[in-house]
Every structure is written in structure tokens, then in C-alpha cells.
């Protein structure tokens, strides 16, 4: 449903371009005398262009033949789209209307097919009749001229002030003519090649059409999103499109980590239980398979490929000699790099799309002509949209009115400051609460988690999720104090939620850093203990039976360090899980349960539940988008220490796609203020970029500054994690490469390079700025030119009217002379209106047929411009029944011509 309407819209936009191409085509053809082989590639290219424009249109069309038909079809389609346009303007957004239009279009198509097939036959006949060889040179010349004339006509058709129907008929006829005789002008040999070319084009086009269909069918969830779009408007749909995009990005991240890290380790790495880091310690063995432990990602889950600690520092594994540590590091860097690239690329693309158009100068006309969301297909949403447009108009008018006067600015200011103060308090409170909880959980961890309840163990995540859920509500309530315009209020709201989430996340990270430091202290002690333990072991074996093999110690019994990397990964995984759970539970309780209650309790309740207090929930776009963005931030942060995170996230996104689609359609109502999401996509992207940056910061910090654990992970034993690159360079590459690399990484080389980059960025920035300015100038120029044209046209119209008036007077006079009625002529000279009144009266008295009169006029006088008399203007004033020949009508004529 929404798709169709979008198509219409798209097509409406494309129409002028289409016809432009047609004319180009014609121009190209005019010059040539059937040089098919030479131009075939060129024409194919052009055709492809046309095709790209039209493939979407063509999907529904049946078979369509050749190039000529294409042209005809285009004319038809133009007609069809014009009809559609009319329909749209009438406000026909209902289902039936569009279907009707569709039907009509189909009809048109089929009719064009018939015609074209007939035309084919005709063409064959024509071929026999008009053999170019049989024509004399003069006739050929004549024919050529005629063809040229027709072509000119086709080109100029758009500017002709005729009714649409005439235009279409003329267009069709001329095109047929041109098609017929243009070919006839060529030589006999070229014709076959031409036919072959046409056939191939047909086949190619069909293939492309099918391919396009296939491509559309391949876009996942497209129909679902379209349906939602039709019910809830594009702002809600933009969330789902964003979600889908996110899914795609995560798919790549998952592919990287899964394919290059997890699978190789699982297949080629040492199996479970072979070395201490791959074995569950003896103390935990009894509970390692408990569900509660696994749910917290402890036990067997902790000692698996899912986490950093499981990986071995063996340089190359398996028969492939897979460089595991290097791969691990590069994948970690690669995911972040890829994310940066993809976000920035999307941003740039979006910016290109929305770059044109200034919002300031024609505020009200923008509102009038562009505020409708054509993708809406649901009556209720349409009502809401209507209401919101009306309110936006009211608001805009009020804004215009009140832009000068401002009552009680001090109170407003005070309230705004107060609101911000309250929000800050709230933020600080939530930050402190999280900090407190994290510290407490560390205490619990030191005590041993088994001694505490589930609530206490999951306190951090619970508190974070709850705060993330409830604080935005509080902000929303507080923002009522500020009395901002809703759009501004939404921005503030987004900013505050952003700050809250960011604060929470960073508090969490800071607490995590503390924990890392604690673990590292612990690690030092353990390291010392291990050396003593090993020594004692060695001593023991020496002192005891010397023949006993030293490897009798089971890997589970070997003491080991606390491996902070796995701990970090676990924390993030738990956070993601609890966040997902909270989201889903909120969805089920807050939306679904509420909807069920409202729906069924309404039968026996004392007030109206549906329209009144609880009502159904609206889809919270901003909250959901922010949730998604922060979730992604956590993934970026934690993915290095828990390779399973992208997989988990993929799962989460997949489920939430279906769940949220269902929930939206099942238990949400369209927003009261339906707003278009045109510019918001890049806003989301910008937030995503900020979050990406902020989330890579701590990850990079830990990688660069903290030495890895000594006995777990792929980098164990190294001083820093990135030493793995150095190692690879030394051992796997030829010596010169390492040398070159060391030179390249020399600050003396890196710094100039960075400088160069900065300069390049500056240069590009300034060029784009100047381009923008030039654009603005051009726009201004265009505008002034338009105004000038309008003025000129007005003047021309006025002059023409005066001439007309004069001519008519002359005619009148003549007639009066004829009928010897001099008094009337005197009155005419006195006043214009009086003249006209009198004139019409006269006309009524005389009542000659209009055409007759006109002929008479043109016969009698000269100075009237021709174009006003040649059917361009229906000349309502001349008809006896229409005495008022209004001036605006006259003004509009030239502007019609201009187009």
C-alpha cells in the first residue's frame, strides 16, 4: 500500500526528467541518418538511463515492446501519472482510490499495447508501401523535413498551452510518424540490425526488470516496514529502517568475529581441558553446569570461545598455521574501523540526499505543499497527521505573531533554569546510584557471590536498566515546565536522555576500571604465589619419586590469575542480556499487557480507558533509537573482550525486529503528533558516531595502557596487546618489510602525514563551503530571475489585454458604425468597466456565435498579438453567457506559456 504511493510520488518527481531524456534521445536521432551500429552502444546506454528511471514503474506493467512502445508508453504514463496526481491532490489517499488508479493505469497500458501492436502491423504495411529506395530525392527531402518538424513539435510540446488531451494525442501521433519514417530514411541493411538491436533491448530490459523485482524481494523486512509506515507514518518507520541498518552492520561484525576468531579457535585451537586457561578450575567444577551459573556466563560458558580468556597465545594454530593472536587483534581493530567507515559513509550519503532546499525562506509554502506524508495508508494516522499539520500551521502563525512580543520572559527563564537544575540533580543522582551499586557489587564479589541473593548479584544491571527506563519519563514531565516548542522540546529530551545514558555507561566503565585495577593487584599476588607453588611442586617432585612424570597435575588444579579481560567481557555480556530482557519485559508489560487491560477492562470500567487515562501506548521513537544506539555502543566497547557479543547482539536485533514489529502493530496507537522523519536519519547517525567514538575510547585505552593478563588470552606473556604486530612483522615478514614499517611508523613521517591529512580536510571543507555559497547565490539569482519574469509576463499580459481591449473597441466601433449606433461608442470611451458592461450587453443583444465573431475580429484589425487568438486562451469574455472577463485570468496566461 505504502509502496505504491511512494512509487507514485517517486514517479511524479521523475516525470520531468523522463521527458527530458526523451527529448535528448530525439535530438540525438535527428542528426543521424540511421547509423545503427555506430550508435548502438550509446543508445543502449541512454536507454539504460531511461530504464533506471522507470524500472520501478515497469514492474507492474505487462509486456512492453521495443523502443517506440516505450515512448508511447511514456506518453500514456504521463497521462496516467497526471491523473494520479489529480487524485492525490483531491486528497484521495484511501486504498480504493489508489487501486482505482492502478486499474486505470493497467487499462492504459493494455490499450497502449494494443495500439502499438496495431502500429507494428501498420509499420509493416508501410514498409511495403514506402520503400525508401523507390522515393525520389525530392520526396525524401520532404519526408525528412516532415520528420524534423514532428521532432521539433515533440520537443516543444511541453511548452504548448494546449489541453492535456490534445498534447497526448499530438505526441503520440508525432512519435508514431517519426518512428515510421525515420527508419524508412535509412538504408536497407541497417534495418535488420536495428530490429535485432530492438529485440536485444527488449530482452535486456525484461531481465533488468526481473532482477529489480528480485532485488526488492531480497530486502529483508521490507514489507513489514512498509506496513508499519503506512500505519504510523515515517517517523516510526525510520526507527525500523535504522534497526535494519544496524542489523546489517552487526551482521558484518558478527561475520568478522565469528569467521576469523571463534571458528578457527574452536576447530584448530587446542581442545577444552588441554591447558589451564581452557579448563574450569576445580573449585567451580561442581557448579559449572548449573543454569544459574551459565546464565551469568560463568562456568563452562566462561571457559569457552565466547570469552577472551579461553584463547591461547600460541602464535600459529592448526595445519593452516592460522595466526590466532594476530587475527584476534586485527579483528578487534577491524570491527571498529569498519564501523567508523560505514557510519561516516552513510552520513555522507544522507547529507547528499538532504542537502538541498532552504527551510527558512518559504516556511509556509513548505508547510502547505510538503507536509503531507504520502506513505500513510491508515485512516486514523491520516487523521492524526491532518490534525498535526493543522496544529503546526496554528503554531507557525502564532510564532510569527509572537516573535516580537514576549510576555514574562523572566518567569520562563526561571522555569527553564529550574527544569535544567532538576534534570541535573536527577542525572547526578542516577550517576551516584550506579556508582554506589557498582562499588557494592565489588564488595559482594570479594565476599563471594554465592553468599548473596540473585537480586544483589544482578543489582548493577537492574539499576542501570531501571534508571534508563524511568529517568526519561521524569525528564519528560519536567520538560513540561519549560514551555518549549515541541520540536525543541524533543531535542532537549533527546539530549538529556543521551546525557543520562552516557553518564550511566561511563560510571559503569569507571567502576569497571577500578575493578580491573583490583584484579591486577590480585594478579600480582597470584603470580607470586604461582612461582612459589611451582617451586614447591618442583621441590616436591624432586624430593619424592624422581621418576614420576611432572605433568600429572590436572590443568583444573593449576592455580591461575583472575584474568580481568574475561571479567570485563562477562560484565558487558551480562549488561547486554539484562538490557535486552528489560526491553522485552517492558514491551510485554508496558505495551502488551496494558493494551490487553485497556481493551478488555473497558467494558466494565467507570471511565473511558481507551480515550482517557491509561489509553494505549505510543511508540517512543526517541527512546527506542537511543536504546539501540547505546546498545551498539556497548557492543563496540565489549566486543574485544567477548567475541560472542556481536552474535548475541545479532540475535537480539533479530528478535526485537519481529517482536517490536508485532508490538507496534498490535498494541500501539499512532502518535498524536505525527512528524515526518525526513531529517532525523542523519541525526541518529550523528549520535551513533558520537557513541562510537566514546565507546572506542575506553576500549582503546585498556588495550594501549593495561598489560594483558599473564596466563589467559591470546596476548598473554606480552607486555602490551599490540606487541603482536611487532612480533608478526619480525617473524612472518621479510626483514625489509619490518624496516619499512618501522620507518613508516617513525613520528617524523607520521606527523607530516597527519598534517597533510588535516590540510586536505581543511581544503575540502573550504571548497564545499564555497560550493554551498555558490549554490545559494545561484538560487538567489534564480529567484530574482523568476520574479523578473513574472513581472515581465504581467506587463506583457497587461499590454496584451490593453491591445485586446483596443481591438475589441475597434471591432465594436466598426460594428456600431455598421449598425449606426454612435452613443454606445461614446460611453465606451468614458470608462473601462462601463465599456465592458455595455459591451456585454451589446453582445447579448446581438448574440452572434463566438467563433464567428472572432473571425470577424481578426479580419478587421491587426495589432492584437496572434497567440491570444489562436485557441491558447479560450476567451471566455467573448461568450455571451460570461460577462465578466476577469483580469487575473489574463495574467495567468503568460505564466502558462512560460512553463
Amino acid at each position: 500500500m505504502g509502496g505504491e504511493e511512494k512509487e507514485i510520488q517517486d514517479y511524479d518527481r521523475k516525470m520531468p526528467r523522463d521527458s527530458l531524456i526523451t527529448s535528448e534521445n530525439d535530438r540525438r536521432k535527428r542528426g543521424e541518418e540511421e547509423q545503427a551500429p555506430a550508435t548502438s552502444s550509446k543508445s543502449a546506454k541512454t536507454r539504460k538511463n531511461i530504464k533506471n528511471e522507470k524500472t520501478r514503474k515497469m514492474k507492474e506493467e505487462g509486456e512492453e515492446e521495443g523502443e517506440d512502445e516505450e515512448r508511447n508508453g511514456k506518453g500514456k504514463k504521463k497521462h496516467g501519472s497526471a491523473e494520479k496526481d489529480k487524485k492525490n491532490r483531491k486528497g484521495g489517499k484511501g486504498k480504493e482510490k489508489v487501486q482505482e488508479v492502478k486499474k486505470k493505469k493497467k487499462k492504459v497500458e493494455t490499450s497502449s499495447e494494443q495500439e502499438t501492436s496495431e502500429e507494428d502491423d501498420e509499420e509493416d504495411k508501410e514498409e511495403k508501401e514506402v520503400r525508401p529506395e523507390c522515393l525520389s530525392p525530392e520526396e525524401l527531402e520532404k519526408l525528412k523535413e516532415a520528420v524534423d518538424e514532428r521532432k521539433k513539435l515533440i520537443q516543444a510540446l511541453r511548452g504548448k498551452p494546449w489541453p492535456m488531451k490534445t498534447k497526448l494525442v499530438t505526441l503520440q501521433e508525432s512519435q508514431e510518424f517519426v518512428e515510421k519514417y525515420e527508419g524508412a530514411l535509412g538504408k536497407g541493411k541497417g534495418r535488420k540490425l536495428y530490429a535485432y538491436k530492438v529485440m536485444m533491448t527488449k530482452k535486456w530490459m525484461k531481465f533488468q526488470r526481473d532482477f529489480e523485482n528480485f532485488k526488492t524481494a531480497c530486502i529483508p523486512w521490507e514489507m513489514k516496514i512498509k506496513e508499519i509506515e503506512s500505519h504510523f507514518g515515517s517517523s516510526v518507520a525510520s526507527y525500523f529502517i535504522f534497526l535494519r541498518w544496524m542489523y546489517g552492520v552487526n551482521m558484518i561484525l558478527f561475520g568478522l568475529t565469528f569467521g576469523l576468531v571463534m571458528v578457527p579457535e574452536a576447530l584448530m585451537g587446542r581442545p577444552y581441558g588441554s591447558i589451564p586457561r581452557k579448563t574450569v578450575p576445580r573449585a567451580e567444577e561442581s557448579s559449572a553446569m548449573d543454569f544459574a551459573v551459565l546464565w551469568d556466563f560463568g562456568g563452562y560458558a566462561q571457559y569457552s570461545v565466547l570469552f577472551y580468556g579461553f584463547y591461547n597465545n600460541q602464535r600459529a594454530i592448526g595445519w593452516l598455521k592460522f595466526r590466532m593472536p594476530l587475527s584476534y587483534f586485527l579483528v578487534g581493530v577491524g570491527t571498529v574501523a569498519y564501523s567508523y567507515m560505514v557510519v561516516i559513509r552513510t552520513m555522507a550519503r544522507n547529507a547528499n540526499e538532504s542537502g538541498v532546499g532552504d527551510d527558512n525562506s518559504f516556511n509556509f509554502s513548505w508547510k502547505t505543499f510538503t507536509s503531507w506524508d504520502y506513505l500513510i495508508g491508515n485512516a486514523e494516522t491520516a487523521d492524526n497527521k491532518f490534525a498535526s499539520i493543522t496544529t503546526s500551521f496554528k503554531e507557525a502563525i502564532l510564532e510569527e505573531q509572537e516573535s516580537r512580543k514576549d510576555d514574562n520572559i523572566h518567569l520562563t527563564r526561571f522555569l527553564r533554569v529550574l527544569a535544567n537544575f532538576l534534570v541535573l540533580c536527577c542525572l547526578a543522582g542516577s550517576g551516584y546510584l550506579i556508582y554506589f551499586v557498582v562499588r557494592r557489587s565489588q564488595k559482594f564479589a570479594l565476599d563471594g557471590l554465592e553468599n548473596h541473593t540473585w537480586w544483589e548479584r544482578n543489582e548493577v544491571n537492574m539499576v542501570m536498566s531501571l534508571l534508563g527506563m524511568f529517568c526519561p519519563m521524569l525528564f519528560d514531565v519536567i520538560s513540561a515546565l519549560e514551555n518549549y516548542h515541541p520540536r525543541v522540546a524533543l531535542q532537549w529530551q533527546l539530549g538529556r536522555i543521551f546525557a543520562l545514558f552516557l553518564g550511566n555507561l561511563y560510571t559503569f566503565i569507571i567502576a569497571l576500571m577500578d575493578e580491573i585495577n583490583i584484579k591486577r593487584e590480585e594478579e600480582k599476588i597470584v603470580k607470586f604465589n604461582i612461582t612459589t607453588w611451582e617451586a614447591s611442586l618442583y621441590n616436591g617432585t624432586v624430593s619424592g619419586n624422581s621418576t614420576a612424570p611432572p605433568n600429572t597435575i590436572h590443568p583444573a588444579d593449576v592455580p591461575r590469575g583472575p584474568c580481568w579481560e574475561t571479567m570485563v567481557g562477562q560484565e558487558f555480556v551480562r549488561l547486554i542480556i539484562s538490557d535486552t530482557m528489560t526491553t522485552y519485559i517492558t514491551l510485554l508489560i508496558g505495551d502488551f499487557l496494558r493494551a490487553v487491560l485497556v481493551r478488555f477492562l473497558n467494558y466494565c470500567w467507570c471511565w473511558d480507558l481507551e480515550a482517557g487515562f491509561p489509553s494505549y501506548s505510543e511508540f517512543d521513537v526517541s527512546g527506542n533509537v537511543l536504546g539501540l544506539i547505546f546498545n551498539q555502543g556497548m557492543i563496540w566497547m565489549g566486543a574485544f573482550y567477548a567475541p560472542c557479543l556481536p552474535a548475541l547482539n545479532l540475535l537480539r536485533l533479530h528478535v526485537s525486529m519481529y517482536l517490536q514489529c508485532w508490538a507496534v502493530m498490535c498494541c500501539n496507537v499512532p502518535q498524536e503528533r505525527v512528524f515526518k522523519a525526513s531529517g532525523s536519519n542523519n541525526f541518529y547517525m550523528a549520535m551513533l558516531l558520537v557513541i562510537l567514538f566514546l565507546s572506542t575510547l575506553p576500549a582503546i585505552y585498556t588495550i594501549v595502557t593495561i598489560p594483558p593478563s599473564f596466563d589467559c588470552g591470546p596476548f598473554s606473556g606480552k607486555n602490551r596487546m599490540f606487541d603482536v604486530i611487532q612480533e608478526t612483522l619480525e617473524s612472518d615478514f621479510p626483514a625489509w618489510f619490518g624496516k619499512a614499517f618501522s620507518y613508516a611508523s617513525n613520528p617524523g613521517l607520521v606527523l607530516p602525514f597527519i598534517l597533510l591529512m588535516v590540510l586536505a580536510i581543511y581544503y575540502l571543507q573550504s571548497t564545499s563551503k564555497s560550493y554551498r555559497e555558490a549554490n545559494m547565490d545561484l538560487k538567489k539569482k534564480l529567484q530574482t530571475q523568476n520574479e523578473e519574469n513574472k513581472k515581465k509576463n504581467k506587463q506583457a499580459a497587461l499590454k496584451a489585454q490593453m491591445d485586446l481591449e483596443e481591438a475589441r473597441q475597434a471591432a465594436e466601433q466598426q460594428k456600431h458604425n455598421n449598425t449606426s449606433n454612435e452613443e454606445a461608442a461614446d460611453v465606451e470611451e468614458n470608462s473601462d468597466s462601463g465599456q465592458r458592461m455595455h459591451h456585454t450587453k451589446n453582445e447579448r443583444n446581438n448574440a452572434p456565435p463566438a467563433g464567428d465573431r472572432r473571425r470577424q475580429q481578426s479580419a478587421t484589425r491587426a495589432p492584437v498579438p496572434r497567440n491570444y487568438h489562436q485557441g491558447n486562451h479560450p476567451t471566455p469574455g467573448y461568450l455571451p453567457g460570461f460577462p465578466q472577463q476577469s483580469e487575473p485570468r489574463m495574467h495567468r496566461v503568460p505564466s502558462l506559456q512560460r512553463h
Partner: protein, 259 residues
């Protein structure tokens, strides 16, 4: 045992709910808690207390002062769901615009809206006011008389509306109602409307004004008028009487008849 930190995390939610629905809490306090307390203390019903206040604070024979006294009592002392001054203005305007001759009021409660309607009626018009409750009707009677309206202008009928409406034509010799004001039980809006349609008392151009259609709300009534097509209707949005933040509305229906 839930830890205190998790409980603290619910604080924003609690605050949000309190702030967002503060008007409802205030309403609950004023309309229910204060009423119960006063009932116990004074032994009088709410309407009787209101009557005492009006009696002492207004000039007899002056409808305006009586209405003012009511408004003051309802907004400052206790809460009675009269139509209130703001929505009353809409009512006044409608009455002045149409100057109906036969008016039916469903639910006079303690006479506030009766006085309000009666004072803006044209000469010779007659108001039939239906009240179900005996005690309320007695007070309404007193208030009406206090305002100076006699039996010719206002006729108080003490009976449930669903019994009275079918008998209006026979017992009171009515053949057309120009204006109907509904402010009784919200559940009865729809059956009474249908009964009015059935009795044939509504003619083309008869106006029906229904109070409190959004809060407490009469969803079935609204759904019915939306669907029926017998009426031209609109909803005057306003707030609940004597309270700022609760949205409410009055439905104005103009009977068009079957086309």
C-alpha cells in the same frame, strides 16, 4: 529480598507518576477523602452542606450570586461535579444562540445547572429537570426556588430518567424538545439518547449537550453518535470543572433526523 538500590531506582517512576497525575490525586483527595471525612464529622450529606453554604453566602432571588456561591464552595471547600463556570459559559452561549422553548435536563443534582439554564432561557420557555435521587431533588427544589424560578419555568421531576422519558409525551404534553442537557449517570447517556430518539421528541435542529464525555467519559455514547449519522456533532474540549489539569469535554449534538 530486594536491595534498597533497586528500590531507589524506582524513585523516578514514582515521581513521574505523582507529577503527571497530580490533578487526579488532588481530585481523589477532594472528591472522596474530604467528603467521607466531612460526612462522618457533620452527619449531613455533601449536597446539604453545599446548600447550607449557599443559603448563607448568597442573595435570594439572584441566580448569579447563587451560582457564584456554588463555584466558591466547589472550588475552595469541597468538590461537587457541577458543570462549573467554564463549561457553563459554553452552555450559556448555546442557550442564548438558540433560545430554546422546551428544555430537558437529565440529572439536576443539586440544582446548579438548572439555575444556570433557567437564567438564560427566553421568556415563556420551560425547563423540565429530571432527578433520580429524592434527597438531591429536595435540595435542588430549594435552590431553584431560592433563585426565584417558579413552577412555570422549571418543573422538577423526581424519577429515574429511563422511566420519565417514554412518558414525557403523554404526561407532560410535550411534542418536541429544543434542547436537552445530559449530566446524570454517564452509563445512561446512550440508553437515554436512544430513548429520546425512539420517543420522537427530537426534531430537526434539536440540540443535545452532554457533559463529561471525556472524563469520567462516555465512550459508548461517543461511539454511537459517531456511527449513527443522525447528528451533526462536535466536542467542546475543556477541563474538568474546578480542576485545571484534567481534560474533559462536552459533546454538542444537533439532531438532523433521517435524511
Amino acid at each position: 529480598m530486594v536491595s534498597p538500590a533497586i528500590a531507589l531506582a524506582f524513585l523516578p517512576l514514582l515521581l513521574t507518576l505523582i507529577i503527571r497525575y497530580r490533578y487526579f490525586f488532588v481530585l481523589l483527595y477532594r472528591a472522596v477523602l474530604v467528603r467521607i471525612w466531612k460526612d462522618c464529622v457533620t452527619g449531613l450529606s455533601r449536597e446539604e452542606r453545599a446548600f447550607q453554604y449557599v443559603l448563607t453566602h448568597s442573595t435570594p432571588g439572584d441566580p448569579d450570586s447563587i451560582l457564584d456561591a456554588f463555584d466558591v464552595w466547589c472550588s475552595k471547600v469541597e468538590f461537587i461535579s457541577n458543570i462549573g463556570p467554564k463549561k457553563g459559559k459554553i452552555l450559556d452561549r448555546l442557550l442564548l444562540e438558540h433560545s430554546p422553548l422546551t428544555v430537558l435536563e437529565l440529572g439536576s443534582h443539586c440544582g446548579y445547572s438548572t439555575v444556570r439554564i433557567a437564567r438564560s432561557l427566553p421568556l415563556g420557555a420551560r425547563l423540565y429537570s429530571i432527578e433520580m435521587d429524592q434527597r438531591n431533588a429536595a435540595i435542588a427544589e430549594k435552590i431553584i426556588r431560592l433563585a426565584g424560578f417558579d413552577d412555570d419555568t422549571v418543573e422538577l421531576i423526581v424519577n429515574p430518567s429511563d422511566e420519565v422519558i417514554p412518558r414525557l409525551r403523554s404526561d407532560y404534553n410535550l411534542d418536541r424538545l429544543d434542547f436537552v442537557f445530559m449530566d446524570h449517570w454517564k452509563k445512561c447517556y446512550l440508553p437515554d439518547l436512544q430513548m429520546l430518539e425512539g420517543s420522537g421528541l427530537l426534531g430537526k435542529g434539536s440540540i443535545i449537550l452532554a457533559d463529561n464525555v471525556l472524563f469520567p467519559g462516555a465512550p459508548k455514547f461517543l461511539r454511537y453518535i459517531r456511527k449513527s449519522g443522525l447528528y451533526e456533532w462536535k466536542i467542546h474540549r475543556a477541563t474538568l470543572e474546578y480542576s485545571k489539569g484534567i481534560r474533559d469535554g462536552m459533546a454538542e449534538l444537533v439532531y438532523q433526523g433521517i435524511k
